[in-house]
């Protein structure tokens, strides 16, 4: 009887020691390589990487980041060279999990070199649709980056007379592609889509769109020739008659409501998925998701001009209030 009791105590201590050891050192010595498509100092990618680093800090994981610097260097040749450099680093570092942030890292590293291999890959910041890369591969999972257009539409709809949506943005392929995705999410409610090259066209198209829409969504101003944010804000304040909105950070000054994406959300999800893989999960077992968090921006100037009163709930969740009295 005494021997059995001692044996049970021994097993218990062994189990407890195993649990404590496992809890403390499950990730010790494991390596994660983070491939940043852009460069240090770029807000979006910095936000993504920050999110990943916060999650991984204190886990014991060996974390290393590598930058492809393809934001300013957009040539195909540079991107491919950058992809090869990353591949070499991967071979030397021998990570247990690879995190790739944004489309270029996926396009120039994963797609050519790490498609359906044993190395698990977690992506984040991939715009709208991973299937454009022939993904998902059996060794990939992650978070797709989408505009929160549906939520933005719902907010604007509270203050608009009808459901007709107008869009004005820079005339570029990626913007047209974005609008196509917008349409998918809000069931083809964008009746009038206008793409402009310069600031004057933007203003005139805005005035014209007000006549035949119940709300207007702005695309990014990047690329619009002669763009002046301050003047745009003044122009809008003078001429606005219907609610406006945007999911682009730089357009909140001209929007009644802004709903922008969280870069940190992307990095956090990727890091958590990587830890699950280190715990033994297969990438295929982890679902590919889209971002959900939005940063709400309320423009009190425009609201006052339109006679719109926000609800207390909106004020409470708003991250940015434009035009509040000090």
């Amino acid at each position: 009887m005494k021997k059995i009791f001692v044996f049970i105590i021994f097993l218990f201590i062994l189990a407890m020691a195993n649990i404590i050891y496992a809890g403390q050192s499950n990730y010790r010595g494991k390596k994660i390589l983070y491939v940043n498509s852009y460069h240090q100092g770029y807000d979006w990618s910095d936000g993504e990487q920050r999110g990943a680093e916060v999650v991984l800090s204190g886990t014991g994981v060996v974390f290393k980041a590598v930058y492809m610097d393809t934001k300013d260097n957009t040539s195909e040749q540079f991107c491919k060279m950058s992809g090869l450099k990353v591949k070499k680093i991967i071979e030397e570092f021998k990570p247990d999990v690879l995190i790739v942030a944004d489309d270029n890292a996926f396009t120039y590293v994963i797609k050519p070199y790490y498609r359906d291999v044993n190395l698990p890959v977690v992506f984040c910041g991939i715009n709208w649709d991973i299937s454009t890369y022939g993904a998902p591969y059996k060794n990939t999972t992650g978070m797709i980056e989408i505009g929160l257009i549906e939520q933005l539409y719902n907010h604007l709809r509270k203050f608009s007379k009808g459901g007709r949506v107008g869009f004005v943005g820079y005339d570029a392929p990626h913007e047209r592609r974005n609008v196509a995705y917008y349409d998918q999410y809000i069931e083809n409610k964008i009746l009038n889509k206008v793409f402009v090259k310069d600031f004057d066209s933007w203003k005139s198209e805005f005035l014209r769109l007000q006549e035949k829409s119940d709300m207007i969504i702005f695309g990014a101003h990047d690329g619009i020739k002669g763009w002046d944010s301050k003047e745009a804000a003044n122009f809008i304040y003078v001429h606005i008659r219907i609610p406006t909105g945007s999911d682009v950070e730089g357009m909140t000054l001209v929007s009644l409501i802004g709903l922008t994406k969280s870069a940190e959300e992307q990095g956090e999800y990727a890091a958590r998925a990587a830890l699950r893989i280190l715990d033994g999960a297969r990438p295929a077992d982890i679902p590919i998701v889209t971002n959900k968090k939005g940063l709400l921006s309320l423009n009190l100037h425009i609201a006052g001009k339109l006679g719109i009163v926000f609800t207390p709930a909106m004020f409470k969740v708003a991250k940015e209030l434009i035009g509040q009295e000090q």
Partner: protein, 541 residues
Amino acid sequence: MMRFSISQKIFYGFSIIILLAVSILLVSYPLLTKIDALSSRVVPLEKETNVSQEGIEIVRLLESKIELYVILGSQEARDEARKALEQLDRFTSKLSIVKDLENLRMIRISAEKISSVADTLINYINKKESADRINQCLLETVKRIQYFEETQKNFQNFKLKQSLEIATEEKEIIRVLLQTFLILELFIVFFGILASFLLSKIITRNLFKLHKVTQEIASGNFQTRVSISSKDEIGQLAGSFNLMLEELRKSTVSKDYLNSIINSMADMLIVLDPQLKIIRVNKTVSELLGYSEGELIGEPINIIFSSAHSLFTGTEFEQHVKKGAFIDYEIHFVTKNKIDIPVLFSVSVISDKEENISYVVCTAQDITVLKNAEQELRALSLTDPLTGLYNRRGLLALGEQQIKIAKRNKEDVMLLFVDMDNMKWINDTFGHAEGDLALIEIAKIMRITFREPDIIARIGGDEFAVIAMQATRNEENVLIGRLKKNLDSRNNEPGKQYVLSLSMGIAVCQAPYVGSVDEFLTRADKLMYKDKRDNLKKHSD
């Protein structure tokens, strides 16, 4: 050293334990009081926490009502918002009135600010003020609500911290209390065990002494005494016990004494149980029979009875015992080496009140020497037991003496040899008993025929011899005549079944002569046989 009775010892022992228990209470009382004081601090803490929680719920209600009023703008929604506002006002009033809720001052101020701005907001909405003013006021309201929430949260955290501090303090007190309890409890347990041990030792030590003495008494030692010097109840009992022992010793024979007596007995002593099995033997039994005491104990008494010579075969002994005591039965015991020993065997029976046999006491005396002496004596006898005459040995012994005397006195000695005729015929016809009677009659005739100093002997089965002293040859015929006359007298008696007849031979030795009695007997024997042949010839003629 002080002397205590057992009851005093138990009383003082338990008193000390009770004192220790009381000391635990005394030690723990201040700590328990401190815990009570801490508990009294918890009560307002709970009350403040509950009130602040109530505040946050009222504010959230107001917030939701304003939200509805902003969205709906209806009179009804406005009334609901007003009601919520009034509820908030009552809450702030309560906070300012109740004194023991002073710690909620910041919450009260914060709530009052909400109330103020919310009132303005409701008025703005009601008066359909510009959206800009309403938004700014709404923003201010939300900010103040957020501030209230933050204040309430901080307050809750503060109270939580206080609760934790109290809990920590309580935990520390309880730890000290438990530690104290544990130490004192251990001390009590230790002391209790020690006290119990000592108490039991004190009590049982003297009891063991008594027990040991009783065992010695049981083994027959009446000289032993209890050596207890304590004055308690057991000491008194020991004193009484010793007195009893002294009296007992005077009136009781000790076992050793009894044993020494029994073992010193020359006779054998065997004690049997009611089933007649041996339960005790003395040393003499072992020495004579060759058995050890252990070999005999438990065995039936028959084991020592000789089957060849004993009177007690089968169940005869048992039947004798049932009849009661018997003495001096001449029987034979048999030794371990199968040698018979003649003994004089006596038995006495010890019975209980119901006359049931308790013990059978057997004594036996070895009579081997006696029996041997008897045999020797029988061998040395000079007389014939049947006729009372001298036997051949007697004739020879006395005859030699008489011949020596006659030789010294120069006197003649006559030896008459007589043989009874038809002895075999008488035995065969009338039996040996009759034959014996015939011999006795011959002896009688010879006694009355011869003189007192003459030596008359029966020297064989039907042969007689007489040494007649101072008899001369002249008297030879007188003696024979007298013998025949006496024989005829017998034969002539009526009723005699047969006639007695004798053949005789006489040898006369004249002085001075030489020779022994045997020579005279030989000469007389020859003459007697001549006479016998003559008689046979006469009868046959």
